[in-house]
């Protein structure tokens, strides 16, 4: 795909991606923030389609639609202001953050601008999906298998982290610091119950 319509579409999508990414952190509504991030991802996915990486673009659409829906549920569950009916400002070190963000963007953009990047045209523009499939099912198979195992470990880790009760009772009941001498009796330690009023706060 070439020509001015592609350029116009690219710049519209690029401005949309950055603008909606910025809106994520500027809106009062948590659900709106989540869906702003989703629009940013959809814009990048569409740019990937323009780049002829159709498989990646469409995969990004599907993955982000699901992930941002989950995120919206988490936002409503863990934040005080899901509908954005009250103004909300939950930030710290705002000036440092802005400077760091601008420096990161400017530095990376300067590298892109001044570096002598190679320019190699697409060898087989019609066959990008087929080539990706052959690569994934061929030479990169070990990478996909490793990723599969890593995702399995992620699922187990997520369940282990979130489970309130394990096989042997409460998830926290068995946690005792070990002794240096393996035969010694383990240290008994009273698990301090978190005081629900002590650490509750921060909803600006």
């Amino acid at each position: 795909m070439t020509g001015w319509p592609v350029d116009v579409a690219f710049w519209v999508l690029a401005v949309g991606a950055v603008w909606f990414g910025w809106r994520v952190f500027r809106t009062d509504s948590m659900v709106r923030a989540t869906f702003a991030l989703l629009v940013s991802f959809l814009d990048v996915g569409a740019i990937m389609v323009l780049l002829l990486a159709e498989y990646l673009g469409v995969a990004l659409f599907f993955m982000m639609a699901v992930e941002m829906t989950v995120m919206a549920i988490f936002m409503v569950a863990y934040m005080m202001n899901p509908a954005g009916l009250n103004p909300m400002q939950m930030v710290h070190q705002p000036r440092v953050a802005v400077v760091a963000g601008v420096l990161a963007a400017a530095g990376l953009a300067a590298v892109a601008w001044f570096a002598d990047l190679p320019s190699v045209a697409l060898v087989a523009p019609q066959d990008t999906i087929r080539e990706l499939g052959l690569e994934v099912m061929g030479e990169s198979m070990i990478l996909m298998q490793t990723a599969g195992i890593t995702l399995l470990a992620t699922m187990i880790g997520a369940v282990a982290l979130t489970a309130a009760h394990g096989r042997f009772g409460e998830a926290t009941s068995g946690s005792r610091p070990p002794r240096l001498d393996p035969d010694a009796e383990p240290v008994e330690q009273e698990m301090a119950r978190p005081d629900p009023h002590a650490h509750h706060g921060g909803h600006g």
Binding site: F10, W11, A14, A17, G21, V24, F25, M30, T34, L37, F41, I47, M48, L51, L52, L56, A59, L60, M63, E67, V70, M71, M75, V91, H92, Q93, P94, A97, G101, A105, A106, L108, A112, L117, P118, S119, V120, L122, V123, A124, P125, T128, L132, L134, E135, E139, S140, A147, T154, M155, A158, V159, L161, T162, T172, A192, P194, H199, G202, G204
Partner: protein, 101 residues
């Protein structure tokens, strides 16, 4: 649409993500900042694949790896949010000052 244009847009996305990660207090908002930065990383990789690598399929695999990283970050991130909230009743970075139980 050139490689430099794609990379500049990716740099802007990463910059917005860094700003979000450093400025937000809520754990979930911090995660959204990370995701936005990864969004920029994927765009940069796709641009490099298209304009600088001649469509070498391994370049697309790199983007898929970034997708994996994002999925793992989201799953473990949400699990940590749940675990920290359960133990400490904290949902912001200010709510946990130490790593102790």
């Amino acid at each position: 649409m050139t490689l430099v244009a794609v990379l500049v847009v990716a740099a802007a996305l990463i910059g917005v993500g860094v700003w979000g990660v450093l400025s937000q207090q809520s754990f979930v908002m911090v995660m959204m900042g990370f995701e936005l930065a990864l969004n920029g990383v994927m765009l940069a990789a796709a641009g490099a694949w298209r304009f600088a690598a001649g469509g070498e399929p391994k370049g697309q695999v790199l983007v898929i790896v970034a997708l994996f990283v994002m999925a793992i970050e989201a799953a473990i991130g949400f699990a940590l949010v749940v675990a920290v909230y359960r133990r400490r009743q904290a949902d912001t970075t200010e709510g946990i000052a130490t790593m102790e139980r």
